[in-house]
Amino acid sequence: MVGSFAGTRRVSASAYFSGVAMATLLGIAAAMFLRPAFGHTVLQLVGLETVPQAAPGSFYTVRVAPLFEAHCISCHGGERQKAELRLDSFAAVMRGGKHGAVITPNIAKDSSLFTRITLPATDDRAMPPSGKTPLSKDDVTVIRLWIAAGASGTLPVKAIKGAPALVVPVKMPELDLAAVQRQRAPLANEVSRLQGRFPGVIHYDSRSSADLEIDASLKGAAFGDSDLKALLPLRDRIVSANLSGTGVTDASAPLLASMKSLRVLRLMNTKTTDATVAALASSKRLKVLAVAKATPAALAPLRQRGVRVYEDVDVR
């Protein structure tokens, strides 16, 4: 058998390798033709096609990409590429997968991505598959509007009308204890001294700030003007003061008015009068005021400024 090849023409190395190269290129070309997604990847790799990029602030970046991120990329992303489809970049979305492009700009119903996410949950081809969190009606609307507007990566958010309101996730502030400590430092000694003197009355309003809340309402009449006066060193930091039911009188009005950060003040069931209310006219930050006895005339300027006023209505 070996001998049967002996008479054949010998192929030179260069001819052999160029043949193989040709065959490989032909194979790649065929694959590019059969799998447009692959074709685009190749063209983008060799620089013959620009890689589509989504612009920051575009409708795609702000509204569409987060939906893919939340619902799709666990199967169509960096870790797994089911049906050779990735949805973790604008280029990949537009490139499509094993079965070709998944987005047909301007025509949502011709875009397989859109038809798959709108199939009834009972359909085997519905996406995301059963067991995964489905897209909401609003999510589907966002994707439909985006495709209908040309599936652009640059069109700004405002250019597409009629999209459901964007849900902005709540930001949970990170706790920087060192920074908080620095903010608290100037008053820290005074705060802890007065906390010792008035147990349960003075607290920081949170672990992330140096602002203070005072609540003497449980002390009753035993907490009076002179006690409040003792808190003078803290006054700039007090954001909320509950003095309802205490022995505080109009004599404390100047001190209360000088608490420049005060947002909430409660004076229900105290002997304070219009005099205190009048003094508070200069409290720029005040948002909530609960008073004992005050005339509508005295309260009017505060109400006008948007302070929410509560009056002691019950006879006790």
């Binding site: 909401s136 996730p169 502030p173 949170s206 672990r207 449980l218 909430v264």
Partner: protein, 504 residues
Amino acid sequence: MMGKVESQSDLLQRLHCQAQNRRQFVGWGAGGLGAFFMNTAYAAQQPATSSGLTFKRDPSTPLSVLPPQFPAKVKRVIYLHMGGAPSQLELFDHKPTLSRFNGHDCPQSFLKGKRFAFIRGVPKMLGPMFPFHQTGKNGTWISDRLPHTERLIDDLCLIKSMKTDQFNHAPAQLLVQTGDARTGHASLGSWVTYGLGSENQNLPGFIVLASSGPGPTANAGKPLWGSGFLPSVYQGVECRSAGEPVLYLNNPHDVSRTQRRHVLDAVDEINRQTHAEFGNPETVARIAQYELAFRMQVEATEAMDIRREPAAVLARYGAEPGKNSYANNCVVARRLAERGVRFIQLYHWGWDSHGSPTDEGINIGFVNRCRETDQPTAALLADLKSRGLLEDTLVIWGGEFGRTPMEDNHGGSNEISKYIGRDHHTAAFTIWMTGGGVKSGMVYGETDDMGYEVVKDPVEVRDLHATILYLLGFDYQKLNYPYQGLDQKLTGVKPARVVSEILT
């Protein structure tokens, strides 16, 4: 095996031996095994979690106030749990299409692959039993069953898209109240008092007030307000609105307060010695509990005594001193809120409207539950609002699940039953919230035309919990407690979401 008859001296001998062994064991324990055990117990008191937030306190003041993680919108919570689950389709979720299909067979698509607590076979669709109308500034739909609450509709935030995965009362109640359908988890109120403490050191930080219609009461029992894996000092204390507020709190007949003080001093001394010897912080916590109970004898009695309210106030609530009623509990709830109690949990049982016995009829029992709760709820809200307390109080109203848009046909044929009912429904129910940080006059979420499934903005129970904790100033992922190798959280291990759309 012991003989049939144990003589007196044998018995004494045996008890003595047991006591000796116990003492020896404890004695060795102080050095060896016991020290190991104590260290674990001590570690449990001073948890180190990955969040970096500590909840360490002096064991003698376990309820002392700790500031929240970030500035809070609300300082306290009043949770009005309607036990047994009221029908959203007769109160808030207006479904005219369902009326049109009243009496039709339920479509197969509603039944395929679904399980219900009682419905078997093909039930009939059941249209809303009471007329709806639009009310308030935003034209919010509401039925005619809640005329008093309706007046405050512009203050409420309705969530019509609540979902749960438990279709039986006890697990569903546990899920809503503890974040898990099984017992052993810490309740919402326990988490909140653990995280924040309580302003009033003379009252428990977490108080439970229960009332009921004639039907069954707390299906899941006391674990609903249990502390689970948290230290027991954070469990809810059940108080009664009639008779003694806390059972066995008052001194026995002929025992004076001074005598009680002497007894406590002696007990405290023994406990202090025990603590000096073994160093178990639970012993100090016990001293603290005895002292709290002693202070409560005065404070709780005063706080719970609604006779101190003006008659006009009681009339607004429909409260009658001496009765055990939801109305009385609502008055007490406001008094407790004013006195710095952190978490006030009300239960009103008897909403389970299956339609079999009279009191489970939507046309009878349900109507009565509405009547028992509507006016007091509205009076409580109005009171909190007028006193400015709604600025920093969160009020939540809701059951543990919803009711089906189909008629419940258990207990006989529909044709002959004069009581109408609905089965338990997990796929959609309505709750409302109001108070600091929550948008008022809002309707969030939507169900389909039959009221069967949520079609817009679903809210899982864990999302509700995350939102409540957020309003109290906590990232739900950071309020945790190490137990069984896991940083336990109210929301469990599945990702939750703060429902930012309903926040101001």
